[in-house]
């Protein structure tokens, strides 16, 4: 090696001569031309880029493992939940497709422009034990102002970089989460072999299983269907325009179809039944109007002796008999004299003047009959009275149909109550199970109604004969519901409890505290006074009180202050 200065190779001054010489050569500009460091820089950059790629690959694998675990965990959870309760869940394909799309978007978002060679240098330095050599070199490379030292450092770092193997420095790491994902996949496969069936835990939103309807409920359902069919037949016979039973029949059939197809929840079934019941009861308004109109009609017809029986039948709402009597009167018209006819015509005319919209046909027929009688056109009068009888028969059929629909509605109400009871019993049992789990065996007795009692009173659906008015079924059911609500209502909060106690105290009034003076006097009178006077403290003096009460040091620092003064106290041995 040639040095441009005298080299002293022995003695203590060897170093200083060397350093001086080096410095002098640099100061003179010796060999200060910038070296072509592009190959060194590219070597360093190449290594850092490789390390960066490895880092990003590991990061992607890590994110992928998280995503796969999350997706599989979601699918497994949904599957298990689906086996326990009835929930709506997207199909596996939708979950996988959505997650994949989201993951790809996430990757694009995180990886786009994420190249960070500085970070790669840090990782490479740490992994290779390089003491920030690459990090420093990467920094120096990017600076405009370079010195001999930085150039030398970069060259040295490049030599180091060439000896590095990025894949060994930052190996591809398969995250351990993939094992979790594998386990979840296994669970998913096992769940695929699980037998399909109804959910294990039935709550309000579980579908109603037809097999779980009680026999009484099934009978009720059949009765309702028969009644509605009969009502429909009567309505058909009466040629009624708006057939309410048809709508109810349609709803019932739809509900039954959904029930058998397992598409209906308990609440939905109850709602369907309620709406069908409303449809059936809709005609009651017409019926009441009709009954009022018949009473008015009967009152109008009572004035004539020939029409008295007819009026009586109408008054009793017996329209079949009224129709028969009307036909008999029609046949007897020919035998009546003019005065009788005039009298009947007047009564019928008076009755036809009423504004009963619910029986327009009857009114029209009576009007025609009255006019024909007034004109003494007996044939036309007879025909008109026959028409009136037909109208009465149609009205009678409509009333019978409505009666049947009312019965069906009652049956429906009983069935609803029965189902509500069954639902409530299930809820109570599940709540009781939860409470038992939380509170343990000791609190089992706290539950107001044991599950067997609930089942006995509610779930059987044994409601008696619902056709009886205010029958035992509905009555007993509502009682059970109210009782259950009372027993299982919301827990009393502390505030309410305290408020109740406060009110109770106010009602009782403040308890009078005996005056201490009286105690002493009374004890003295009874010569039983035993007052300990020696340890009785009098009221503190002002100085004492102020000394005790004034403390400016916050309580959390008092111990610290105490220890401080203990620490700085004079030593005992000095």
């Amino acid at each position: 090696m040639q040095f441009p200065w005298p080299v002293v190779t022995t003695g203590p001054w060897v170093g200083v001569v060397r350093l001086r010489g080096l410095r002098a050569s640099r100061d003179k500009g010796f060999d200060l031309a910038p070296s072509n460091g592009s190959s060194e820089q590219s070597a360093i950059r190449g290594v850092l880029e490789s390390v960066d790629r490895q880092l990003r690959l590991n990061r992607i694998l890590d994110h992928l493992s998280v995503a796969v675990c999350f997706v599989l965990a979601t699918i497994v959870t949904v599957k298990i939940l689906g086996m326990l309760v009835n929930i709506w869940a997207p199909s596996t394909l939708i979950v996988v497709a959505t997650s994949t799309a989201l993951f790809v978007a996430f990757l694009v978002w995180t990886q786009y422009g994420a190249r960070n060679l500085g970070q790669a240098a840090v990782v490479a330095d740490n992994a290779g034990g390089l003491y920030d050599e690459l990090k420093s070199a990467y920094w120096f490379m990017r600076q405009d102002h370079r010195t001999v030292w930085t150039e030398t450092q970069v060259q040295r770092a490049a030599r180091t970089a060439r000896g590095l193997q990025p894949k060994r420095l930052v190996p591809t790491i398969v995250p351990q989460r993939f094992w979790i994902a594998l386990a979840l996949g296994g669970i998913l496969v096992l769940l695929g072999f699980a037998p399909s069936g109804p959910p294990l835990l039935a709550f309000t939103n579980m579908p109603v299983d037809p097999s779980r309807l009680t026999e009484a409920q099934e009978e009720q359902f059949e009765d309702i269907r028969d009644l509605v069919e009969q009502a429909q037949a009567l309505e058909d016979a009466a040629a009624q325009e708006d057939q309410l039973s048809a709508e109810a029949q349609e709803r019932l059939e739809e509900a039954m179809r959904a029930l058998l197809a397992d598409e209906l929840t308990m609440e939905e079934l109850l709602r369907e039944l309620r709406e069908a019941q409303n449809a059936l009861e809709e005609g009651n308004l017409d019926m009441s109007a009709m009954e009022e109109a018949l009473e008015e009609l009967a009152a109008d017809l009572e004035g004539s002796s020939e029409l008295a029986d007819l009026a009586e039948a109408m008054k009793n709402q017996n329209l079949s008999e009224a129709a028969e009597l009307m036909r008999q009167l029609a046949e007897q018209l020919a035998q009546m004299d003019g005065q009788q006819l005039a009298e009947m015509a007047e009564q019928l005319q008076q009755a036809a003047q009423g504004d009963q919209q619910s029986m327009e046909e009857l009114m029209q027929a009576l009007q025609e009959a009255a006019e024909a009688m007034s004109d003494e056109q007996l044939a036309e009068a007879m025909q008109a009275m026959q028409d009136a009888a037909d109208a009465m028969e149609a009205m009678s059929q409509r009333m019978d149909a409505q009666e049947m629909m009312n019965q069906a509605a009652q049956q429906m109400q009983a069935m609803q109550q029965s189902m509500s009871q069954q639902q409530l019993a299930q809820q109570m049992m599940s709540q009781q199970a939860m409470v038992s789990e939380q509170a343990g065996e000791s609190q089992e007795g706290a539950m107001a109604m044991p599950s067997d009692e609930v089942q006995k009173s509610a779930a059987s659906g044994d409601m008696g004969d619902p056709s009886q008015e205010g029958g035992p079924a509905g009555h007993a059911t509502s009682e059970a519901i109210e009782g259950a609500e009372m027993r299982l209502g919301a827990a009393t909060t502390l505030e309410v409890q305290l408020e109740m106690e406060l009110v109770a105290d106010d009602e009782e009034g403040p308890e009078e505290q005996p005056d201490p003076e009286d105690i002493f006097q009374e004890a003295s009178r009874q010569e039983k006074a035993r007052v300990e006077y020696r340890n009785v403290r009098g009221p503190p003096k002002y100085a004492e009180g102020s000394a005790l009460s004034i403390e400016r040091i916050p309580w959390r620092y008092r111990n610290l202050v105490k220890r401080y003064f203990l620490a700085i106290r004079p030593r005992e041995n000095q």
């Binding site: 203590p12 080096l22 030292w149 150039e151």
Partner: protein, 331 residues
């Protein structure tokens, strides 16, 4: 050129090793103290050695002075020592012509290596006499400023503050010490070695191996070592973490520290890191170099608050927590 730099580094390392080995002939153990002392010397700093009496503080300093071919003075600080006893004073001098003039009589501070033994036994007034000398390397007496010859290196020893008859050094003076090194009691195996060496007829003597010019050259070399901005940023963040009520404050700092380290602390970390990098044969300062400087460089630059003093919190614990919780950054 690269070869020259490499030679410069190897020379630096070699000379440092020679000095260390020579000191090691006399001083057993205490490698950390010896390295710290030499690093301070090469970083143009001063050292404060703290330890209980009798564990070799003065011996270490005397040995360092022996190894280096430099002027050496020793001042034994006592309560009655006056500033004039250190820096010197103007005395009346009669010339040959009989004229009386004031002549400056140099004090012991006019040297290269100054051993300020038991510095905390002198009063704060006397301690402050060192302030100007340590920072500006000058001494002002009256209206005249006298420049001290480089290298000027103060090696002060002090007993723990809890000892009787000591005056704590003012913060301004503490800040002027590059390092504060704590000398611990020797390990048993070191004690055996000490007994073997010092209880015989002849005690080992250290030879002079390094001269003034070499030291000055090494000082210049150390300053040339480049430091990358991320590493410098790391040093700054470490320093800022010692400041309470700042965004960088460490939780322990917020709880126990009243004032943090000054910018001199950061300078110490960086310059000390440069020397340490050279000693490890590197051309750049690494975060590891900065970390190795943290305790001796900053432990005397933090002032504990009342709670810290009362809880007898060790500043080193705070610094270790800061070191543990301050991350390195890429940029």
């Amino acid at each position: 050129m690269t070869i020259e730099i490499e030679d410069e580094i190897s020379t630096f390392t070699e000379q440092f090793k020679r000095v260390r080995d020579e000191i090691g002939k006399v001083i057993v153990g205490a490698e950390e103290i010896i390295d710290g002392t030499l690093i301070s010397l090469l970083a143009k700093g001063h050292v404060l050695l703290e330890g209980i009496p009798g564990i070799g503080k003065t011996k270490i300093v005397a040995t360092v002075a022996d190894v280096l071919h430099l002027q050496f003075s020793r001042i034994q600080f006592t309560p009655d020592l006056m500033p004039g006893d250190i820096v010197g004073s103007n005395v009346v001098h009669e010339t040959e012509t009989g004229e009386k003039v004031l002549e400056f009589q140099k004090g012991p501070i006019h040297t290269n290596i100054l051993l300020a033994d038991e510095i905390n036994r002198a009063t704060p007034k006397t301690q402050s006499a060192l302030l100007e000398a340590m920072q500006e390397r000058t001494v002002t007496v009256g209206t005249t400023t006298h420049k001290l010859e480089p290298p000027f290196f103060v090696l002060a020893t002090q007993n723990p503050l809890e000892m009787e008859g000591t005056y704590p050094l003012p913060e301004a003076q503490l800040d002027r010490f590059f390092y504060k090194l704590r000398i611990m009691y020797p390990e048993p195996e070191h004690m055996h070695e000490i007994m073997d060496r010092t209880t015989k007829r002849e005690e080992p003597v250290a030879k002079t191996v390094l001269g003034r010019d070499e030291i000055l050259a090494m000082r210049d070399t150390a300053r040339d070592v480049p430091i990358a901005r991320p590493v410098q940023d790391y040093a700054i963040r470490l320093t800022l973490a010692t400041h309470p009520d700042t965004p960088h404050a460490h939780p322990m700092t917020s709880q126990f520290v009243r004032f943090g380290a000054s910018p001199r602390g950061t300078q110490t970390l960086v310059v000390g890191g440069k020397v340490n990098a050279l000693l490890n044969g590197r051309l750049h300062v690494s975060c590891e170099d900065i970390r190795s400087m943290l305790l001796p460089a900053l432990r005397h630059r933090m002032m504990l608050n009342f709670e810290g003093e009362a809880e007898r919190i060790d500043r080193d614990d705070i610094l270790r927590a800061i070191m543990k919780d301050t991350p390195e950054r890429a940029e």
